[in-house]
């Protein structure tokens, strides 16, 4: 059984981390960092799926490589690049490889990435992908036999199905309605977009109190004040309060990492009573993850 499912079921505070596959075949540095800094700190590690539409190595083999190193992966799957046949096919492949945790996402728009003329697929959306997983678990798929009957699978997968939500988005009601749909379609855990405003997160958690699935708050390490400002300007659903921007701006260049880790640790400390865990997205600063967890005072 998925350790993530088990940990969230127990009700303690659960940490997950994240790595991004390389652009190229040189997988060693990513695997090294995962083993060195994530393995003993987090319950599971998300492997991103062509994030921000910038072409990279596929998530699935990297998940398998983590598994082989005793690290539990969360397979991220976006619906931007594959139609319903390919998505279901990869899901069966993941199950055969022993990958149980799958996070369903719409995926950033093609024009955010480095292949802007590519065709965006979105044959399914994130709700449709969760529904597809639920169907596969019930022993059938999205298709039909020649007689118009559901197809029967030879061997049935089990998934621990995740979804995302942006708690600090401008208009939160449509996000909540969609979250309800994701849960209705089978989502069993939630990892959020980056949150920097504990009060806004608290208000959001109250509004989704009726949604009975564990929520891991998203923590993105801010590498400097410029990154915080960039996110405020360009990343929908993310708001970094001025006090955090100022704190990063005031830090000496040599201390920025330390301040960044402190900020992340404090955010987790403030929000740990509101949710089931934290999903830390280090964006390359993998080696800071142990320090963030230490700073949060959870362990």
């Amino acid at each position: 059984m998925s350790r993530l499912r088990e940990a969230l079921g127990k009700g303690g505070f659960t940490f997950t981390g994240e790595i991004g596959p390389p652009k190229g075949t040189n997988i060693a540095p990513v695997l090294h960092e995962a083993e060195e800094f994530l393995k003993d700190c987090v319950v599971a590690v998300n492997v991103t799926d062509i994030q921000t539409a910038v072409m990279r190595m596929s998530s699935l083999p990297v998940c398998k490589m983590l598994l082989d190193r005793g690290i539990e992966p969360v397979l991220q799957m976006v619906t931007r690049d594959r139609n319903r046949l390919a998505l279901q096919s990869d899901l069966l492949g993941a199950a055969a490889l022993g990958i149980e945790n799958v996070l369903a996402l719409t995926g950033d728009h093609i024009v955010m990435g480095d292949h802007q003329g590519a065709k965006g697929v979105w044959d399914l959306d994130s709700v449709g992908l969760l529904d597809a997983m639920t169907k596969l678990e019930s022993g059938t798929d999205l298709g039909l036999t020649m007689k118009g009957e559901p197809n029967a699978l030879d061997g049935v997968p089990t998934f621990f199905k995740g979804c995302v939500v942006a708690p600090c988005t401008e208009e939160v009601e449509p996000q909540i309605i969609k979250l309800e749909k994701k849960v209705a379609a089978g989502a069993q855990f939630v990892q959020t977009q980056a949150v920097y405003d504990p009060r806004a997160f608290e208000a959001f958690m109250k509004r989704i109190a009726h949604v009975k699935v564990p929520v891991l708050v998203g923590i993105v390490l801010l590498k400097n004040a410029g990154m915080a400002k960039y996110m405020n300007k360009n990343v929908p659903g993310v708001r970094v309060p001025k006090r955090i921007v100022d704190r990063l701006a005031a830090a000496d260049k040599k201390d920025v990492r330390k301040v960044s880790v402190e900020v992340a640790g404090e955010l987790i400390r403030e929000m740990k009573g509101m949710c089931a865990g934290a999903h830390i997205m280090p964006l390359g600063w993998d080696k800071e993850i142990p320090r963030v967890i230490e700073a949060s005072g959870v362990k």
Binding site: R84, T106, D131, V165, E170, K181, N234
Partner: protein
Amino acid sequence: MIVTEMKPVDEILGMIEGEKGVFILCCGGCPEGYKSGGLSKGKDLAEAVGAKGVTVTGVAEIEFLCNKALAGVKLNRSREALRGADSILVVSCGVGVQAVGNVADFPVHPAMNTVSMGGRQGLWPGEERCHQCGDCLLDRTGGLCPITTCSKSLVNGTCGGTKEEHCEVDPKRPCGWLKIYQRLAALGRAECLKALNAPRDHRKYDFPDARRSTVLWALEVAAEETEEAVEASRGTDT
């Protein structure tokens, strides 16, 4: 000419379930010329849904619903019938349904699927766009098309990429799903958003060779096929 076809009556009944009264508005443009719609088909529809216990407060035809200014003025003439209606059932292509939704402060339901633009539509001065997907879901989206307004053509709601009410990939493009949410909330029908929409059936995008063969196909067929039907439809219009 835009090629349209009536949705099955059962699907239409599903859309208007629970409505106290429904006003049927027919486009007198392409659907009339193509004989897929028009006033006579609107009256047939009124009879069919009336037989299932739905109150139809009126049936009217306006030429080229895609001409929003004209449609708005002419729709005003039916205000008595509209007063008793909860919603408008629009017998037109997806552009017409969206145009009516934009000029009338009413929930709209599409009575037709739009199969193909088949060349050039009558008039289209507005921002409404129809993707000719052949499986119109405007009923669940407040009369705003998510296939054409959402940059990802999502069917189950916002992706989270809304920035200052616009799409993150284009600051000049309003977020389609936010507009849909706002329209439905204003109409008191935000619960429509909670329905799970199935993945699209892409077969419906395609249409038979006969239809694809020529731009003028619809007109040619209209000229050859059904002189009697044309007469008959004129007879029932008066």
